[in-house]
Structure formats: C-alpha cells, structure tokens
C-alpha cells in the first residue's frame, strides 16, 4: 500500500524543473558531453598548477622524447617533448585555453550579429526580412575557409584576429535559426497583448520573445563553438591562424607533420584532444536540444 501512495505522490509532485532535471540526468549525451567539457575547462583554467613544465621553454637537449608508453619515454615528460624540446603535456593543457577562448569568443561575436539580424528579420518581417535573408544568402555563397585564410593572410595572424574573422563569418546559422523561431513567437497572442498594452518594441523583444528563443540560441551557440574550434585548428594547421609559439592544437599538428612517419604521437595526441573537445561540445548541444525540446529530436 505504501508503495502505491509513494508512486502516486511521485506523479503528482513532479514540477517542470524536476522533469527537466530527470531528463538531463537520464540523457547519456548530455552527461558525457558535460563531464568531458567541465574536465577540459578545469584543465585549461588550472594548467599552471597541473604541470611543472613551461609550455614555451625550449630545451634542445631534450628534443623528441617519446611519451611514457614508449620504451624510450619517461615519467618526467608524460606525453614526451616536441622538436624544440618543449613538454608536450604542458603544451596540450595550455592549448585547451586557446581552443576554448576561440570557441567562446567566436560564438559571442557571431551570436550577437546573428541574433540581432535574425530577431529583427523575424520580428519586423517585410523588407527587413528580405534584406536579412539576402545577407544570409551572400554570406553562404562565400567559401568560409578561403575568405578567412585570405583575410588572416592580409591582416596578419593572431588570436584576436582569428576570433574576429571567424566571428564575422559564422553568424549565418544564428540568423537562420533566430529568424524562424522569432517568426513563430511573433504571432502568439501574448505578443499581440503586449503590443495592445503599449509596450515598446525593445520591451517586447527582451521580455516576450527572447525568453522563448533563448533555448534555440544556446543550441546554436554550442554547435558554432565547435565549428569555430575546428576552423581555427584548420587555419592554424595551414599556417594562417594562431601564430607560433602559441600552443594551438592545430599548430601542434602542423609542426608535427614533418615527423609524421617516425613520431606519429606528435600528431595523434593534439588531434585526439581536438576530437574529444569538439565531440563533447556537440554531444552537449545535441543533448540540450533533446532534453529541452524532445519533440524536435528528428
């Protein structure tokens, strides 16, 4: 009998917050992605405390020491050293900072641009919508990698430039998604009610529309963050992104490329790190979509 009442209580007492919490805890993708991402974030934040080595300190006497699982490796340099004798684990940890800064910085810039354009297009419709749709079409027609490479080559490569260039290029998905979600909300009765009461456009956008589209915004932001991290790595790999001696993972792969045939660990390790980071961000983003809007799963 007690069993039954307990179950009945359960059914009645579930608040929307509890349902959401259960969904999050029950979703493998969210849990795996969030755990891995938090771990990488902690490593990036506390890198100076986690490794005794300086990622920029060259030691030509200790060049190309293989990782600890190789017979020639040792515990002093767990992941070995590169062609300039810099500790590979330290570079990997500090490299996580670069990837995360690029991802977050780009997502903020492109998110601002894309959200403004998308919400304006969805809210005002008509000519504004036509203009924004046209801008999106033009942006999609330009090859991202080619334009980014050309701009970085002309202006000069640095962390700030790469963030700025990617931020100015990757706003298209934000604009597309924000435009369509604002359009859906725009014709709800409560928006009409707010207009009838005489709320200003700014107030309607921020208090009636934004809270209802912020969920989609977060999903796009995670996916674009992953996209930006991959693109930065590709630009740095081609030598036109973040410049040495910064330990960008893409740059590390590029520097290890010459030793591909003899010391593949120089490429496998940073590449695998990149893969794990992007995978966990994507799992988290896809998971948030499943959890907050299960009806959109397919």
């Amino acid at each position: 009998m007690t069993d039954l009442t307990a179950k009945a209580d359960d059914i009645i007492a579930l608040t929307p917050g509890q349902i959401l919490r259960r969904r999050i805890l029950g979703h493998q993708g969210v849990m795996i992605g969030a755990t891995a991402l938090v771990l990488i974030l902690l490593v990036a934040l506390f890198a100076p405390f986690l490794t005794p080595h300086d990622p920029y300190l060259q030691d030509l006497g200790a060049r190309m020491i293989p990782p600890v699982w190789d017979a020639r490796g040792g515990w002093d340099h767990v992941l070995g050293t590169d062609h300039l004798g810099r500790d590979y684990l330290a570079r990997l940890m500090y490299g996580a900072r670069i990837s995360l800064i690029i991802g977050i910085g780009t997502a903020v810039i492109s998110g601002l641009i894309g959200t403004c354009l998308g919400v304006a297009a969805g809210f005002f419709g008509g000519r504004v919508d036509m203009a924004v749709t046209f801008l999106i079409t033009v942006r999609l027609s330009m090859p991202v990698v080619l334009v980014a490479l050309a701009v970085v080559a002309l202006v000069g490569g640095s962390l700030e430039i790469v963030i700025l260039v990617l931020g100015l290029l990757l706003w298209d998905r934000f604009a597309v998604v924000m435009r369509s979600s604002t359009m859906q909300i725009r014709h709800m009765d409560y928006v009409a009610a707010a207009q009838a009461v005489g709320c200003s456009i700014g107030r309607i956008v921020f208090t009636e529309i934004m809270p209802n589209v912020v969920n989609n915004l977060i999903i796009v932001a995670t996916l674009e963050m992953a996209h930006a991290i991959i693109l930065e790595a590709a630009l740095s790999f081609l030598g036109l992104g973040v410049q040495p001696p910064l330990p960008s993972w893409g740059l590390m792969v590029s520097e290890g490329k010459e030793m591909l045939f003899f010391d593949p660990y120089l490429i496998t390790i940073p590449g695998a790190a990149l893969f794990v980071l992007v995978l966990s961000i994507n799992l988290l983003g896809d998971g948030i979509r499943d959890v907050t809007a299960p009806e959109n799963r397919n």
Binding site: F134, V138, S141, V144, L146, V151, G271, V278, L279, N282
Partner: protein
C-alpha cells in the same frame, strides 16, 4: 515555373554582384596594395610606379567596374607570383577539384542515404545508433587530422595508397573519403528525418495495406518523396566542399584549385585569391540556383508558394 525561375535568376545575379564587390574589396583590406607589393626596400617612386602600372591610382569605382568588365571577358588579371593569367591558372586547376568534389559527394551520398533509410526504418535499433555514432563522429573529426591519420594507416603502416600527388585515380581515394565523410552527417540526418516523416503518412499506410512488398513501398513511395530536400542539400554541400578542398588538397598535395588557393594566399598573390573567391562563389550560386529549379520542378508547392 517561368516566373519562379526568373525571380530566382534575378536573386542569383544580385548575390553574384554583391559577392564580386566583396572579393574586390578584399584587396584593400590590407591598406595600400602597392606598398604591400613593393616590399620593404621600395622607394616612393617605385611604389608610385606600381600604383600606375596596376591602375591603383584610379578611383575605386572605376577600378571595380574595370575589374568586373574584364572578368566578364574571362580576364581575371595577372598573378603576381605565377606570372600567368589568373583565369588560365584557375581553370587549369579546377578539373582536379571538381573531380574530387564530385567523387566526394557521390561517396557521401552512397554512405549516407542507405544508412539514413535503414535508421529511419528501424528507429532506435542498433543500425540507428551506428548511424548516429557515424554522424556525431563525422562532425567532430578535424579533416586535416583525419587525412594525416589515413596517410599513416594506408600509406605508411599498410602501403596501399600513395600519400600525395594527383596523377592516378589511386591518389584520389583518400581525399575523397576525407572530404566525403565530412558531408555525410548532414545528408544522413536529413534522409533519416525525411524518411521518418514520410513513413508515417497515409499513402504509405495505404500502400502497405494493399499488400505491396516492403522494398517496393520504401523505394517507390517513400524514398522518392523523402529525397527531394536531399537533392538541394547535396548541392549546398558540394559548394562547401570547394572550400573544404583547400585543407584536403594541401594535405595530400593534390594540385587542384584548393591547393592553388593555399599557394596564392601564403604568397600574398592577391589577384589569384580574388579570382578564386569569385569563381568558388559563382559555382556555389549556380549550384543553388539549379537545385532550386530542380526542387521547384519536382515539387509544385515550392513554385506556387
């Protein structure tokens, strides 16, 4: 259909003009191109001479119109580095990139469409999970790293394929896989979503109820309707592949337009870069225009609405 086509064509032309203005403007992003070309040891007279020789001393609008007028006649200027016509350079290299792009998109479709169908027929089954895994992995795999790993595996550990060059078909196998795998997740997700939607529709139930065999229902009734959006996505993905080819071609030293882009960018060869951006964008615009037309032809709802 005619009105729709003309509207689309007008839009494509306006987009093309805007893209041409942007790619022309890129040249001035670095400040004064004459100073950049002159180098550090150039005197004021040298720079003035370069300015006059390349016509940088004229108003920007005149320069742009002149550039466009020449481009329309197939003259994209002269490469600073290769000492050859940009038009010849680009179109000499383009066949390699188009071959690569075409084989990559075919590879992606051959992998993604059957997987997407299988996943949609049995949702949440083992094959659905496998398809999901492939698509999640595909989005997270950096193409340059995947390329290098394939070289280690298939050229070094098991010497089956040549690591670089573009002479024989064997040189295209690994680049095709790398570039094609990149487009697989999007195509697979769309096929799966489209099939899931179509499979719950009434006419599929009717087809099943009248006793048609499941393969016939899938191929004749479901796939035909589910595949329409895949056509336009494939066109878009082909356009993205032109950009992705820069990374892949430079890893495999495949001498196509992507490799040319990397060479000219790293040598500050601006006319070639401009020409490539213009040509890549125009290919993309043409492809999306054609796919819009094909879609409108396949689905009357698009051209009326």
């Amino acid at each position: 259909m005619l009105v729709y086509s003309l509207k689309r064509l007008a839009l494509a032309l306006v987009v093309a003009v805007t893209v041409s203005i942007i790619s022309f403007g890129l040249l001035y992003l670095s400040g004064d191109p004459a100073i950049a070309m002159g180098g550090e040891s150039a005197t004021a007279e040298d720079i003035q001479a370069i300015r006059v020789f390349y016509g940088f001393d004229r108003p920007l609008v005149v320069q742009y119109l002149d550039w466009v007028a020449r481009a329309l006649h197939g003259d994209l200027g002269k490469s600073y580095y290769f000492d050859a016509s940009v038009f010849d350079l680009v179109f000499q290299r383009l066949p390699v990139t188009l071959t690569l792009g075409l084989s990559a998109i075919l590879f992606a479709i051959a992998l993604a469409v059957p997987l997407g169908i299988a996943a949609a027929v049995r949702p949440n089954s083992l094959i659905d999970r496998l398809a999901l895994l492939i698509s999640v992995m595909g989005q997270a795999l950096p193409s340059f790293w995947f390329a290098l790993m394939l070289i280690v595996l298939l050229s070094v550990t098991y010497p089956l394929l040549p690591p670089s060059g573009s002479e024989t078909w064997a040189h295209f196998v690994m680049p095709t896989v790398v570039l094609g795998y990149y487009a697989t997740p999007a195509i697979m997700r769309l096929t799966r979503a489209g099939m899931l939607e179509v499979l719950t529709s009434d006419y599929i139930r009717t087809a099943r109820a009248k006793g048609l065999r499941p393969p016939v229902v899938l191929a004749k009734h479901a796939l035909r309707n589910a595949v329409i959006p895949v056509v336009s996505l494939a066109a878009v993905q082909f356009g993205f592949m032109l950009g992705g080819s820069i990374v892949v071609e430079s890893v495999f030293a495949l001498h196509g337009a992507g490799f040319l882009a990397w060479e000219s960018i790293s040598r500050n060869d601006l006319p070639t870069v401009q020409g490539l951006i213009l040509v890549f964008s125009l290919i993309y615009i043409t492809l999306t225009f054609l796919s819009d037309l094909v879609n409108a032809w396949l689905d009357p709802r698009i051209r009326i609405g």
